[in-house]
């Protein structure tokens, strides 16, 4: 079952021309068949609008949506081989669980394609997949939040679309239920091999479930990468901050050797780093690294650079210690020590080491 989706230069403006609000701004994206792709961003970043354009619930102001190469930009939602799981779930309140799931199977366009037995079997299958077999006769208002999520999922899956769209469906769940539902979704994705496009504002959720993550901001696509790529190599300051890499150091490029870059920090020390794009010596950049990549054992590396600062404060976090360090230029960074060794004392000097591959350079 192939189901590649390609978004080409999508734009969507709400309201009229000048006073209108640009919700989606030139978004292009390739989604391979069978992938689990998350659209990640804070509220108002255009991710839901993008999803709704893919679903056919909105039409873009310009740009195209291709499905296996065919232009479906203006095809109505009902004619697309995709189903959506809505943010508010949109369960039909006057139908039982079973009827909700069977809804898409009993429509006129399906007439002749599925026998009554077949429909019953399908409903049973998908209720089993979401583990709601016993609840089939219940009405939506008789279900718990998690159960309702699963009905909505079964309903979307029952028509066996190659693509399933999710609009922050887990937003209303509590943390533990959320986690188990995520695992469930991941399992179902693996078992069914469909293309999932998933909108969320939760970076943990996006990183843990997806094959690919598209980070969006202000209607634009900022970075489209694997979770590891996003996590390790954020392309912009925004992405870095959004996925929780808060340690930003101002620096100047001193030497460029391929993707290896040598930076010079405010205190004159050097820092080895990694860059995706070409840089010129003398350029002002921002270096970013994750707290857990800092090496507390500063001696014995050939490839790591040393960074020094003043220890400000420590916190014990169970499996690690978190230290806040003030650098010479006044910026504060956070580093983790996985072995949770206590430091000699507050206010003293502190050094840590960073490997070049863990230092990402941001130009914007």
């Amino acid at each position: 079952m192939s189901a590649t989706i390609s978004l080409q230069n999508l734009r969507k403006t709400f309201g009229d021309g000048q006073s209108g609000h640009l919700a989606v701004d030139d978004v292009s994206l390739e989604i391979a068949a069978g992938q689990f792709v998350s659209l990640l961003g804070s509220s108002g970043c255009g991710k839901t609008t993008t999803l709704r354009i893919v679903a056919g619930l909105e039409s873009p102001t310009s740009g195209r949506v291709l499905f296996d190469g065919a232009d479906i930009t203006h095809l109505p939602a009902s004619h697309r081989d995709m189903r959506m799981m809505f943010q508010d779930l949109a369960l039909f309140p006057h139908m039982s669980v079973e009827e909700n799931v069977a809804f898409g199977l009993r429509l006129k366009r399906m007439r002749g394609k599925l026998s009554a037995d077949e429909i019953r079997r399908r409903v049973a299958t998908y209720l089993d997949i979401v583990r709601l077999g016993e609840m089939r006769k219940r009405m939506p208002h008789q279900l718990s939040g998690g159960q309702r999520q699963r009905v909505a999922l079964a309903r979307a899956l029952a028509t066996e679309p190659p693509v399933v769209l999710f609009d922050e469906p887990l937003g209303a769940l509590d943390a533990s239920l959320r986690r188990s539902t995520q695992a469930e979704l991941k399992r179902i994705h693996r078992e069914l091999g469909k293309t999932f496009i998933y909108v969320t504002h939760d970076q943990d959720e996006a990183l843990s479930m997806s094959d690919m993550v598209a980070v969006m901001s202000g209607g634009r696509l900022i970075q489209y990468d694997t979770p590891e790529g996003i996590y390790e190599r954020p392309r912009t300051r925004f992405v870095a901050q959004f996925i929780g890499a808060k340690n930003l150091i101002s620096a100047r490029v001193e030497k460029v050797t391929g993707s290896e870059v040598l930076l010079r920090l405010a205190d004159g020390t050097h820092l080895g780093a990694h860059a995706e794009e070409s840089l010129v010596p003398g350029q002002e950049v921002t270096a970013v690294f994750r707290a857990d990549r800092a090496l507390m054992q500063v001696n014995g590396y050939t490839d790591a650079s040393l960074v020094s600062g003043i220890h400000v404060q420590s916190m014990f976090l169970g499996n690690r210690m978190e230290h806040i360090v003030r650098l010479v230029d006044g910026s504060e960074v956070t580093i983790h020590d996985a072995q949770a060794r206590p430091l000699p004392g507050d206010g003293g000097p502190l050094q840590f080491a960073l490997r070049p591959q863990h230092v990402q350079i941001l130009t914007k």
């Binding site: 009902s78 004619h79 995709m82 189903r83 809505f86 508010d88 006129k108 979307a156 028509t159």
Partner: protein
């Protein structure tokens, strides 16, 4: 801190008593009002219905004669049925006309302001006075009215038609016209509760617009349709002005008979008996419609 102390004393407030007091606070004025201005008047009507007139003198008693008369002697029972038929047709057409407007108002207007404006536009025709509006329909439907003139001008007909006015058609048309806003308001009140995402979900699952309507919107809107239908039915049922102004030779309704009984015939007991019969019918109608509304009302 005194609260703590209170709990230990015997004067500690009892939750149930407070609750009862609060309930009474809200309930007592309406109950007194309804007893004073509804139950007592209805009881008086009931009292009259068991009596009889001795020429001009009312004689109290306990006789079911008036009820027997209402049920067996023409035209009373027949006219109640006839009025019910007019009411039903009024309700049917009002609902049919109201539904698209309510749909447009609920789902095709995104700004609150536009909804408010349409809402006002729907009830604005009420303000032109029933009688004046009914008279305007005469101007439109008459043998030489605007409709006939227009049809002749268009060449659809050569001779003016007399079928538009002074018959049940003109009565039902006028009643439908006057009461449609009620139906719009009650259907809209129900549709307004329906989240847009339900429609999107249905469309997304492959339903056509019509299927979405039949399988999702219509079932959920039934309580509103019922409520509007009950109101328009009742208003149509009890009307006596449209028959007088626009009705034909056989367009009499039960309310007109009630009025005539109160007059020179001065048969207040018979009028009261008809009144009581209608009150009972209304109670039955409400009971049934409440049951149906409860059954069809969905929890969103």
């Amino acid at each position: 801190m005194t609260v703590q102390a209170d709990i230990l004393t015997e004067n500690a407030p009892d939750m149930r008593r407070i609750e009862r007091r609060r309930a009474l606070f809200w309930l007592l004025p309406p109950i007194l009002w309804f007893v004073g201005f509804m139950l007592v008047p209805y009881a008086i009507t009931l009292f009259y219905s068991f009596g009889r007139m001795d020429y001009v003198q009312f004689v109290a008693g306990f006789s079911l004669d008036n009820y027997v008369k209402v049920l067996t002697v023409q035209p009373y029972a027949g006219l109640i049925l006839r009025s019910a038929k007019i009411g039903l047709l009024t309700a049917f057409w009002s609902t049919l006309l109201a539904y698209p407007v309510a749909i447009a108002m609920a789902f095709y207007l995104s700004s609150e302001c536009a909804k408010h404006i349409l809402y006002i536009l729907v009830i604005l025709p009420w303000w032109a006075s029933y009688l004046v509006k009914a008279y305007a329909w005469k101007t439109i439907l008459g043998t030489h009215g605007l409709l006939n003139e227009g049809l002749i001008w268009l060449g659809v007909i050569d001779e003016p038609l007399t079928v538009f006015l002074y018959n049940d058609f003109s009565i039902i048309l006028t009643l439908t016209y006057i009461f449609t806003p009620f139906a719009v308001l009650s259907i809209y009140a129900q549709l307004e509760r329906l989240p847009l995402s339900l429609i999107e979900a249905a469309r997304d699952l492959g339903a056509t617009g019509w299927e979405t309507f039949i399988k999702v919107i219509w079932p959920i809107s039934i309580p509103g349709v019922l409520a509007g239908g009950v109101i328009t039915f009742s208003l149509g049922f009890g009307d006596f002005i449209a028959p007088a102004l626009l009705g034909g030779a056989d367009s009499i309704m039960i309310s007109s008979v009630v009025i005539s009984l109160l007059g020179v015939a001065n048969d207040r007991p018979l009028a009261a008996a008809i009144g009581v019969a209608i009150i009972l019918m209304a109670m039955a109608l409400l009971t049934v419609s409440q049951y149906l509304e409860k059954r069809t009302q969905v929890r969103l």
